[in-house]
């Protein structure tokens, strides 16, 4: 029987991208955690952290980061903090219209990071990319978030040069968000990320 995800696209298109990091690197102090690629608020805030990917440099500014800094979770209401929900698999229309933006633990929706294949199952974004919606919501919120961060620069590691406009996400994923192909290193490490659901349509490995 074919294994999950087979056939795998070849050749692997992300040979030049850094490996998906399974652990979260050192973070600048005082930065809000975030749930996916391109949703970071500051330089050095992403999954690789201040040291950047192996052989590379830390991301340069808000919106350019690689993937989530939250504790990874696989499902609705399993988030531990504010803005840590992913969305798209379970949740209400209202929740699915604002992925990665929730008030506190247990009020977020689905798994992080938000893989590019994931679509919303309810609401105005039904059938469309969750990551794109999350990025759009983040961009809408950015001016307000930026002001709040600028006010914190005296007590945190937030860089003072917060751009008025978000930087572009890493080039291979700028249009789609992080693909499951990259997250699993070409389908070899499917346990790098799981997402709930029985339909097999989350675009990621199931959690049971």
């Amino acid at each position: 029987m074919p294994q999950p995800g087979q056939p795998v696209p070849t050749p692997y298109p992300y040979a030049d991208a850094p490996l998906f990091p399974t652990s979260i690197g050192p973070q600048p102090a005082g930065l809000p955690l975030h749930s996916c690629m391109g949703l970071n608020s500051c330089r050095g805030s992403d999954r690789y952290g201040l040291t950047g990917p192996p052989g590379g440099k830390a991301n340069a500014c808000a919106g350019q980061g690689y993937c989530a800094t939250t504790a990874d979770h696989t499902c609705h209401v399993q988030n531990q903090c504010r803005n840590q929900g992913g969305c798209g698999l379970y949740g209400t229309a209202e929740e699915m219209n604002r992925p990665a933006k929730n008030e506190c633990r247990s009020l977020g929706s689905c798994a992080t990071p938000i893989n590019a294949e994931r679509f919303s199952t309810n609401g105005p974004n039904q059938g469309k990319s969750v990551w794109l919606r999350a990025r759009a919501v983040f961009a809408e919120q950015w001016p307000e978030r930026r002001e709040a961060l600028l006010a914190k620069t005296e007590t945190s590691d937030v860089h003072r040069d917060l751009p008025e406009s978000l930087g572009a996400p890493p080039a291979p994923f700028a249009a789609t968000g992080p693909t499951y192909l990259w997250i699993t290193n070409g389908n070899q490490l499917r346990s790098n990320m799981t997402a709930c659901g029985s339909s097999g349509m989350s675009g990621a490995g199931g959690c049971s």
Partner: protein, 529 residues
């Protein structure tokens, strides 16, 4: 805390209108107006709403049992075969109905709550299977086995079990007399409630029997969502690597002609399948109550067509089929459908056989239907497994307790409680626990299915303690099995049993915060006295 309360859903532009009374219903309302009185009507309404809650609760284990007998994603994407495709469609469809039954349970509960009565759910599932539904006429239309008994078994997904689903959802004939006893269809039962609501004795004030603070503790519309990743199913083969639209498909993913998962997705439920402003309603007026009852009837049996009977769909856009039609269309894809002698109503018209046809044999050969036993009980399972089964029933009962508890939680905290209680228990505890125990052989070539029994957790105030005790006993039982055969085939399964009991009772986050089910005791202190 007020920031935790989500905004109310946006009003729907054109909700479907309240169903007008049929001539038979109008005659019955006239009769009630002239032969009954306010006290009798109110008493009947309250009693029948509690019965409605118990009818809806009765359907949930029956549908979930069939749902969990389906193995939905052993194959996926481009490799999905016809049997797996059907199993996934059947699973999504059955779950889409089960979710709406939970909605109906909540709607009936909200109407009763508005009348000043606390809905009773704990311990109100059927006591044994096969079961009749409360006050259902025990004789119904002829089934595929030639029998007319209306006794619904707890049974795996099959052509025959779909017939029993049809017995539950059988559509109401046009202009039939409302009945609250010995009813033929659920629509006929709710028709009786609809008539009580239309009598001259009731006013909006009857649905405002609680102070505003308590009214706000009814189950709120923002908790309901019609679809999720479990109701969705693929229309056919799809490429799981293609990103969701509207992004451009990367060049590396364009090699085949398959749609992305997002493009292949079918949504069996639709957001407009309701009367009133939203699917889930809180009740302050007669109109609200009538809308809640209409949503229940329409989703089950279809929007009524005057002088004909129920239609095939339940929503203004005609995108969502009624429960009856959803189940009948699944049955119509079985090979047996072409020659079945079951008695189906003329309206809505039965579908022609749907291809590609499947058979039970093929589904079992493809291992997409798990061999669950019929009408299991924990005490009927092997002795060493009984506590593991009992914990599943304990979780089911605790879910019903948490639903009762919602009405006691301060409004500002309801969303958090609902998420940590209801969602976590459904998605993270019960779903995963059942998918774990269904790997446990119970003899005779069968595997453990959930028994959904009315297990006694004691008073609600101490029910979490009782569930914890039950969980500890189940953990000990699982550990004994591991100890007895440390390299045996059940070690991994029993490890998962222990893990998911921990998720229910003791899990914490990285900061030590509770990530398990909430202990409801603080909300029931007054009931202890």
């Amino acid at each position: 805390m007020s920031t935790l309360v989500p905004a109310a859903p946006a009003p729907v532009a054109q909700p479907d209108p309240i169903t007008p009374l049929t001539p038979a219903e109008a005659r019955f309302v006239d009769w009630l107006d002239s032969h009954s009185n306010r006290d009798e009507v109110l008493a009947q309404l309250k009693a029948n709403l509690q019965t409605a809650i118990e009818i809806e609760i009765a359907t949930i284990p029956i549908y979930l049992y069939a749902y969990y007998s389906l193995n939905r994603n052993a194959e996926s994407g481009e490799n999905i075969g016809p049997e797996q495709l059907f199993a996934n469609k059947a699973g999504g469809t059955v779950m889409s109905v089960a979710i709406e039954e939970m909605l109906h349970m909540s709607l009936a509960s909200n109407v009763l709550y508005a009348l000043g009565v606390a809905p009773l759910l704990y311990g109100k599932a059927p006591d044994q299977y096969p079961t009749g539904l409360p006050y259902h006429n025990p004789q119904g239309p002829r089934g595929p086995d030639g029998q007319t008994a209306v006794l619904i078994p707890l049974s795996r997904f099959s052509f025959e079990q779909l017939w029993h689903f049809l017995q539950i959802e059988y559509p109401e004939r046009w202009d039939i007399t409302p009945e609250d006893r010995n009813w033929q269809t659920i629509g006929q039962f709710y028709s009786y409630i609809r008539c009580l609501l239309r009598t001259k004795f009731l006013t909006d004030a009857d649905f405002q029997q609680r102070p505003p603070q308590e009214q706000a503790q009814a189950i709120q519309p923002y908790n309901y969502s019609p679809n999720n990743t479990d109701t969705v199913y693929p229309a056919g083969k799809f490429d799981p690597w293609k990103p969701a639209p509207p992004v451009p498909i990367p060049a590396w993913a364009q090699a085949d002609s398959y749609a992305s998962g997002a493009q292949a997705a079918v949504y069996p439920d639709h957001a407009d399948s309701h009367a009133g402003l939203s699917e889930l309603l809180t009740i302050q007026t007669l109109q609200d109550a009538a809308e809640a009852i209409d949503t229940i009837c329409d989703q089950g049996e279809g929007c009524p067509v005057p002088d004909v009977g129920p239609g095939s769909d339940d929503d203004p856009t005609k995108d969502e089929q009624s429960h009856y039609v959803k189940f009948l269309r699944l049955q119509a894809q079985f090979a047996e459908y072409a020659t079945t002698t079951e008695s189906l109503p003329a309206d809505p018209p039965p579908p022609k056989p749907i291809v590609p046809a499947v058979s039970q044999f093929e589904l079992e050969l493809a291992e997409v239907v798990i061999a669950f036993p019929d009408n299991p009980t924990s005490s009927g399972y092997p002795a060493e497994l009984q506590l593991i089964s009992a914990f599943c029933s304990g979780c089911f009962q605790y879910m019903l307790i948490m639903t009762e508890t919602v009405y006691r939680v301060p409004a500002a905290s309801q969303k958090l409680f609902f998420n940590e209680g209801m969602h976590r228990s459904m998605i993270w505890v019960l779903d995963k626990y059942i998918k774990t125990i269904r790997n446990i052989p119970v003899g005779g070539g069968k595997f453990m299915g959930p028994t959904f029994e009315n297990i006694d957790l004691g008073p609600q105030a101490s029910s979490f303690v009782a569930l914890t005790e039950l969980g500890n006993q189940a953990i000990a039982a699982a550990q004994n099995i591991i100890n007895d055969d440390p390299s045996g085939p059940m070690v991994s399964v029993m490890g998962d049993v222990i893990y998911y009991i921990g998720v229910a009772l003791t899990a914490t986050g990285t900061g030590g915060q509770p990530m398990h089910l909430p202990d409801v005791s603080q909300y029931w202190r007054d009931a202890e006295a």
